[in-house]
Symmetry: C2
Subunit: 443 residues, 2 copies
């Protein structure tokens, strides 16, 4: 009995794994369009049930959360967080139909194969193969598979509230995303940033006014412009009092990891079509800013006349969408209150925050033994030191698992087109992903 | 022979005048839709020809400029500036078809009746009636009737360049607009503000970027926000160096007129749906600001995601439309150069001014004897002291008539709906307008 035998089984059962994955990929499960909930949970119930898991479907106001548990009487538990919903598709832009999985050039093309159905089958097949060889899994296994990740995990909090023991009774949670970069090196994420999303509106006048009368009325577009301009200066220093409160100083170890992180500035510049990074930053300074500092960003803004030619008006209303990426220590509710207070104190009470939504940052320290175990496993299986991100640039609902080390590893690649047409993964990466999971369980 | 006899003729010929006006109003002459140029100039040629004018049609790249001249061997000349084009229509919003003039409740309803075909017929009929009674007009008369006022007088400058003697060889130009306010008092405008219209764009990144990477790229929306925010402070002080250069100090007399001007703040607040005037200003302070200070105004702004829900991106491009109302002494070209330089010096070279268009403010001092004559005439005919605006809030191409005193009087009312559905004038106001013109010629 050895891991090599498990690897052999994984290769031998490649066809079975592919069949299972293809069956899953054929279900159009799009929460945004209210499609495929029941078909997905039925499918999951069957395949996890056949693998001996205790399955359960937790109903919510939206798509159900499916859970599966394999109790092996161990004192350790690993939980896998994934989701069975996918992004909507625009059929015309796909080379092969998004819900008819197709293999070309060693890749599987289908909606959801990278994000995130591929991971679910990958993880299940690894566990099954390990048990085939060793007879028993050395840890307890749990799966939490939600159906609304692509629309903001609307009911995951409700699920967690009602299943605290199940969610928090675990030693490690393997999160949904991760994969290989352009050089084929596996990227591991030890956390996610928090996010605060704000929708803003101001309605300063009853009607649009002829701009010959601009002296008499508050221009909604200008008021919003000033309100956004005072939130941060052009060096990205956020001017909202207390915005940086409670952010802990980084440890020496954390700084070491950040300073040595390979950020690939040149690749980034090429991708984004820019000559230099914002503010001319590079190297350590840029990396510390990226990993350690919160941000305020305008996602969209609109007001007044946007058509051809000229229209000389004072617009009566203006809108914006703003997001803040938060770092550990910050709290979304607290931040939105601070922005409100700052505007109120500076004559911007009329800027309405019409909607807000937010969640906190979460990270696992690289010194955590379980983080080290995951890093070591990836090194062993892939033959390369992985790139370890202390925090991903993006955000996710990891904060719903407080106290649980959450780490993202995955089987996608830099050209996987998650959320985009022609989503794909390499079959070889997928099999390697299974080996990684099997090895992780073993160790 | 007396003016009263002229007034009688005007009343007697009311039907002839209405028939002429209705014929004119039935021509859909919409420069924006390339409609009715030839029909209009043919019509004008006929009616001015029949009245003994020397007519001429000056071709341009757009709609022709029609001129008519009545040389009476006087050493004085009055010129009437008007236009034969009208605003586009939305038929559905009209109670009667816009190009089928209709009389209801003492008003004529038709597109262009207020702006500006009514004035053309009014002025021509007044001159004809005067000559019927007195046999001769005591001044030379000129008409300059352009066909593109509603789309920005695109070729009027070209016409003026090629007809300098005709345009500038006049003592007084009666401009196109003016009329009665809500209380039935005639408003006279002694000038117009200048205008600078800017279209702005910035394109900071090659593509929209995930907002988890906002540290690396210049957010186009934020860059434009900051660029607009630095143009003026919230007290409306414009921060562009040199913006206020060359604006002459107001004379004592000018201040007296401004300070005594009846601005009707309460009516304005009601119309605009506001509780208080911007910055809490009122009275003299507000009036001096309105008449004497230039403005910067955002007409429209847009960037990034404007749809439902959240999309977390760094927008790669952003747009705005901005107008400045200029006062006498300022020059549009000079101002756009100063804005450019200010932005260049403050790290906003990337804000492109993709288009700009502008013209200068023009005013006639109220002490000018011809202005006094017009004011006196209106008082005599209407029986009320007119309200005299030193400058209109809006702008127009009066600057093309340098050195010529240009004064606006007209026959519309505060509910005339120029540019809007159900455009109308009162027949009585129109006849009174004819009397005013006849009286002005006489004196």
């Amino acid at each position: 009995m050895s891991l090599n035998e498990v690897y052999s089984v994984l290769l031998k059962k490649k066809k079975e794994s592919l069949d299972l994955l293809f069956e899953f990929l054929k279900i159009p499960s799009i929460a945004a369009q209210n499609l495929g909930e029941k078909a997905s949970t039925n499918f999951l119930e069957r395949i996890f049930g056949e693998a001996g898991f205790n399955c359960s479907t937790f109903e919510t106001n939206g798509f159900a959360v499916f859970t599966a548990e394999l109790n092996t009487d161990s004192d350790k538990t690993i939980t896998f967080y994934d989701h069975y919903d996918v992004q909507p598709v625009n059929n015309e832009l796909w080379e092969s139909p998004p819900f008819e999985p197709t293999i070309r050039d060693g890749k599987i093309f289908a909606r959801g194969v990278a994000d995130n159905k591929g991971e679910i089958i990958c993880r299940l097949q690894a566990i099954k193969a390990y048990r085939d060889v060793f007879g028993k899994i050395p840890v307890n296994i749990k799966f939490i598979l939600e159906g609304e990740e692509e629309i903001g995990s609307l009911n995951l909090g409700y699920f967690v509230e009602n299943n605290k023991e199940f969610v928090l009774g675990t030693d490690l949670c393997i999160w949904e995303f991760g994969g290989k970069d352009t050089e084929g090196i596996q990227n591991i994420y030890l956390g996610v940033k928090g996010c605060l999303y704000l929708e803003l509106k101001t309605d300063t006048i009853g009607i649009d006014v002829h701009s010959g009368r601009t002296q008499f009325v508050d221009n909604a577009a200008y008021e919003l412009t000033w309100a956004l301009a005072v939130l941060k200066d052009r060096n990205d220093k956020i001017l909202v009092p207390g915005f940086y409160d409670n952010i802990p100083e980084p440890t020496e170890e954390e700084l070491l990891i950040i300073d040595n992180f390979n950020l690939k500035e040149e690749e980034m510049k090429k991708t984004y079509g820019i000559d230099k990074i914002r503010l001319g930053l590079s190297g350590v300074e840029l990396k510390r800013k990226f990993f350690l500092e919160p941000t305020i960003n305008i996602c969209g803004v609109w007001s007044g006349y946007q058509g051809l030619g000229s229209k000389t008006i004072v617009p009566h209303e203006a809108f914006a969408k703003v997001d803040c990426r938060l770092v550990p220590g910050q709290n979304a509710k607290d931040i939105v209150e601070k922005i409100r207070k700052f505007w109120d104190n500076n004559g911007f009470s009329h800027i309405e925050i019409t909607e807000w939504d937010g969640y906190e940052a979460v990270k696992t320290l690289p010194t955590n033994p379980l983080a080290q175990a995951v890093i070591q496993t990836v090194l062993e299986v892939s033959g390369h030191d992985p790139i370890v991100w202390p925090l991903a640039g993006g955000s996710g609902p990891m904060y719903l698992f407080p106290g649980v080390p959450c780490i993202s590893i995955g089987t996608s690649n830099s050209q996987s087109n998650a959320h985009a047409p022609n989503e794909n993964i390499y079959i070889d990466d997928w099999i390697e992903g299974m080996k990684t999971i099997a090895t992780l369980i073993h160790e």
